[in-house]
Structures are given as structure tokens and as C-alpha cells.
Amino acid sequence: MARVPIEEGYFRVPADPADLPRLLGSRCPSCGEAFFPRRLVCANCLHEGTTDVELSTQGRIHTWTYCHVPMFGKKDADVAGYGVAQVDLSDGPRVQSIVRGGPGDLSVGLDVEIDLETLRTESNGDEVVIYRFRPVAPRASEPAAGEAQ
């Protein structure tokens, strides 16, 4: 059984389930702006050529909602409902993501951490996964977000 991303090129699934997944982003060597997903031309200064980075696993909720009608207008959902948030990553980009927790658990300014959610299991046993964020309990000293390059 393997965990496979719903779509290639957006996040890395760690071999060790104890490790956190990483969003694949870009950083502009000219102006320093970071982006998700990866892009060749910097959206901020139009510099051509960016550096591949793995983005921070930590972020903060900019805004959120909870979808009670999953896949609104679509018939193939097999979940009852789910949270969605815009998360400001600690190293810059704002990403939209599903987020764990009920409507009572979510709020603007909440600290969150990246995680994986299994969307379905294929007939060969592969689990199709997507990134999501989950609330983290406030800690006295947050370790600095690493940035593998």
C-alpha cells in the first residue's frame, strides 16, 4: 500500500508517515517572494527563473468556512462535510486547503499544521491523499519552520 497524491507536483508525501508532508513551492531569487504552487516567472517582480522550495508546514488561518454540502453540485463525495481555510504559511504564501475540525473548532488567527487526508482507497490498495491543515495547540516556543531546498 502506498500513499499517492491526488495530483502530482503540488506536495510531497513523506515515506515515513510520522513526517509531515511538504507543499512544493517556488522562491524568487531576485525579490524573495514565495509562491504556491511552483511557477517559473515571479508574479511579484517578473524575474524569470525561481528556486524550488518545500514550503513551511506551519501556518495561520486567514479565513475559513465549513462546507455542509460536500462537493456542492457534485455527486461523488463520500464525506459528510469539511472545513476549508485560507492559510497564511509562516514563510509567505497563502494557500486554500481543506482543514480538519468542525465549524466550532475553526477561527481566524488559529495556528495550523499541514497533514494528509485520505480521499479514497484504490482497488490496488493505494490511498489517494490530499494535503490538509489541522489546528495545533498553542505552544510556548514554536520551532522555526525549516525550508529544504
Binding site: 504556491f36 454540502v69 456542492f72 476549508v84 485560507q86 509567505g92 497563502r94 486554500q96 490530499i130
Partner: protein, 389 residues
């Protein structure tokens, strides 16, 4: 780079037509387009032989649909250009038709748009398929997050959103072209009691999926005057169109309509090109696909200062008899939102208002109408129409 709105010279609306939006599964797309086109031609007193150029818009993922639809109206050899700009498609098709006439390359130009959500729902539609990174994040969620942020920053209440929704449902009841025509007066309480879709938006705060078609024909103003001497002459004055500008916090994956400032900047460009201001506008139409948007656009389109939109709601300023009625045909929320045709339906209603023919919902003395749309992907566009006195 210099960017400014388009100013139209010597152009007038010759004819309008639309098929009432709804779930029209039994009616072929090409027939919806044909019927809207014929209604507009009849309204203009023309046949396709009079039309020099056509701009056809739809968001269905299909090739050459525009040409196929136009053939239903006749085969005259006219140039047909397909236009697609998501929800903003209709206004952008009109922008090009009006410019074709203003620039002198056409005497008569047609904007024709059509879409069928019932076809797209059967598969192959944009956003269909679940193996996409942004599949779980729906437009409703995107706009609900905008609503939550507003509530956080400004203390806006769900009751205020619901009050705007009730207004648009009740406008829909008065408009024969609206999909949703409630048989009773809708209250904010009823809106709030509807099924929750994405907090804080209930199903009665979200537009329906729709099928439909709409058409607007523009022509040289002197030709329109000669053909319709007794009718109020309605002129496209100006339009503006922008795509996103980057700012920190920009979201790239999932439903996005770009930063809210895009609407403000587009409106400013359009006002400047028209030599008009928000104080000149009699009636306005905006992208109220999700009702919290309308509240934001009161500010972004310049009808009140930032932070004052809630006061407009409390005063009833955007409803019947108000200072600046919004979405008098029910808006996307009640009139419906098929996609491509939506912008032309706004212009259809604008023209009825400016002609004084919007029975049951007429804005007294309407002279200037503003239409605004955003489109996922992402664009913002504003068009101003003005009636001759």
C-alpha cells in the same frame, strides 16, 4: 503599460433578447441560443443579414459551439469570434461588440451567449472530476471565506447578508425573466433557515445552476434612431476589464476571483472613461452569485465609503425606492447564473430599466445603469449604459 477603460462613440443598443433562465434540460443548447438571438433581432427590427459581426460566449468546454449556434440564425458569412472569460463572459462579449461598432469596423454587431449547466453536470464540465488538487474547494467555499473574513473584520452579521438575499429573491418575483420567482414575500428569516451550504451561506444565499441564453445587438446610434425613432435610445458609454494584479496573500489554487481591489480599480477605470461617477448611476447589477459579494461591491463600486455597506443595507438603499437599487431582476441569486449569458441578462434588464419597461420593478427616472461581473480565473469587468434624455 497604460491601462484605461474603453469609451464608446456613436453606439446604441439596437435589440435585446433572452430565454428565461432555469433547468432547461430538454432544450438543446443551440435552440436556446437561436431563441435568444431571434428575440434580439426582432427587438431590433433586423435579420441576421443586417449583422456585420458576432461575438459569441459560453463557458462550456466545447470547441466551435459559437459557430454552430450562429448557424441556427442563418448562414451569412459574418465573422464570429468566440469569447470566454468565466462568469464575466457576457459582459466581455458585449464589450467587444460595442467596440466593433465604436471603432467603425461594424455598423451592427451582436453579442450572443448561452450555456447549459445541465449538460456540464452530466460530465466533462469545467471543474468536474475529482482528481484535481482544488476539487474539494468549491466556489461557495471561496465566497463563504470572504464572508467570514468580513464578519471578522467589520462585525457584519449573517442577518445583514440575509437581508440582501431576501431583497434579490423578492426582486426575482417581479421579473418575468427570473429563474427563481417566489410566490410569497421572502424574509431574511426564511433565508437564514434554509439549508446551510458553506458557513455562513445558506442555499438561499447562493445562486442556482442554470441553463439559458441571452443576446444584445448594438449598432451605430444613427441607424438605431432611424429604425426605432420612438424608443428611448440606450448607449453603451464605457467599459473596463482587468485581470488580476499580484499582491502578497494572493491565492493561486482553487476558486479565485482575484483581490477585491480588482473590482474597485475596474469601476474607477470605467467611471473615468465614461466621465461619470457612482453618483450618476441610477441602477446597478453585480456578481451576487454568493450574497456577501453584493455587500462588498456596494463599497468597491463606489456607492458608499469603505465600512458603510452595512448602513446601506439597514437603510434599504439598494432595494425598491432606494437611493441605488441593485439587481432589480433578482441578480445572479434569483434571475439565475448560467455562466456565459449572465452578463447579457444584466444588460437586458439594464436596457428595460433605461427604456422604462421594467414593469413591477421599474426604477423611476433610470438614466445610467452599471453592470459588473467577476470571473473565476480571474477577471473583473464593468460596463456603463446611459439613456438619452
Amino acid at each position: 503599460m497604460t491601462r484605461k477603460g474603453l469609451t464608446y462613440e456613436g453606439v446604441a443598443v439596437a435589440g435585446i433578447g433572452m430565454v428565461r433562465f432555469g433547468m432547461l434540460a430538454e432544450r438543446p443548447l443551440a435552440h436556446l441560443a437561436r431563441d435568444a438571438g431571434l428575440l434580439a433581432l426582432h427587438d431590433a427590427g433586423m435579420t441576421l443579414a443586417d449583422v456585420d459581426e458576432a461575438f459569441v460566449g459560453y463557458i462550456q468546454p466545447a470547441s466551435m459551439l459559437g459557430i454552430k449556434a450562429m448557424k441556427e440564425l442563418g448562414l451569412t458569412g459574418l465573422p464570429v469570434t468566440n469569447i470566454e472569460n468565466a462568469s464575466a463572459t457576457g459582459l466581455v462579449a458585449f464589450r467587444e461588440a460595442a467596440w466593433a461598432v465604436s471603432s467603425g469596423r461594424a455598423d451592427v454587431a451582436m453579442a450572443l451567449c448561452f450555456d447549459k449547466f445541465t449538460d456540464m453536470a452530466r460530465g466533462g464540465g469545467r471543474g468536474s472530476g475529482r482528481d484535481r488538487i482544488d476539487a474539494p474547494i468549491l466556489p461557495a467555499a471561496y465566497f463563504a471565506m470572504w464572508a467570514q473574513r468580513r464578519m471578522h473584520e467589520r462585525g457584519t452579521t449573517v442577518e445583514q447578508f440575509a437581508t440582501i438575499a431576501a431583497k434579490n429573491w423578492n426582486y426575482g418575483a417581479a421579473c418575468p425573466f427570473a429563474h427563481r420567482r417566489p410566490d410569497h414575500v421572502v424574509t431574511a428569516e426564511e433565508v437564514l433557515a434554509a439549508r446551510m451550504v458553506a458557513e455562513p451561506l445558506t442555499s438561499m444565499m447562493c445562486c442556482p445552476p442554470d441553463d439559458g441564453a441571452a443576446c444584445v445587438i448594438v449598432a451605430r446610434a444613427d441607424l438605431v434612431k432611424a429604425r426605432q425613432p420612438d424608443r428611448v435610445l440606450v448607449r453603451p458609454v464605457a467599459s473596463a476589464l482587468q485581470s488580476e494584479s499580484y499582491a502578497p496573500g494572493h491565492v493561486f489554487v482553487g476558486p479565485v476571483v482575484g483581490p477585491a481591489t480588482m473590482t474597485r480599480d475596474t469601476a474607477l477605470e470605467c467611471y473615468e472613461a465614461a466621465s461619470l461617477g457612482p453618483e450618476d448611476v441610477s441602477v446597478a447589477y453585480c456578481h451576487d452569485a454568493f450574497i456577501n459579494e453584493e455587500l462588498e461591491y456596494y463599497e468597491l463600486l463606489g456607492f458608499c465609503a469603505e465600512g458603510d455597506a452595512e448602513r446601506l443595507v439597514a437603510e434599504g438603499a439598494t432595494g425598491p425606492g432606494g437611493r441605488i437599487p441593485f439587481n432589480t431582476d433578482g441578480g445572479l441569486l434569483a434571475r439565475g447564473h448560467p455562466g456565459g449569458p449572465t452578463g447579457l441578462a444584466m444588460l437586458h434588464e439594464s436596457v428595460l430599466q433605461l427604456r422604462g419597461e421594467a414593469h413591477g420593478r421599474q426604477v423611476d427616472g433610470a438614466r445610467v445603469a452599471l453592470s459588473h461581473l467577476v470571473g473565476g480565473g480571474s477577471v473583473s469587468t464593468v460596463t456603463l449604459l446611459q439613456a438619452d434624455q
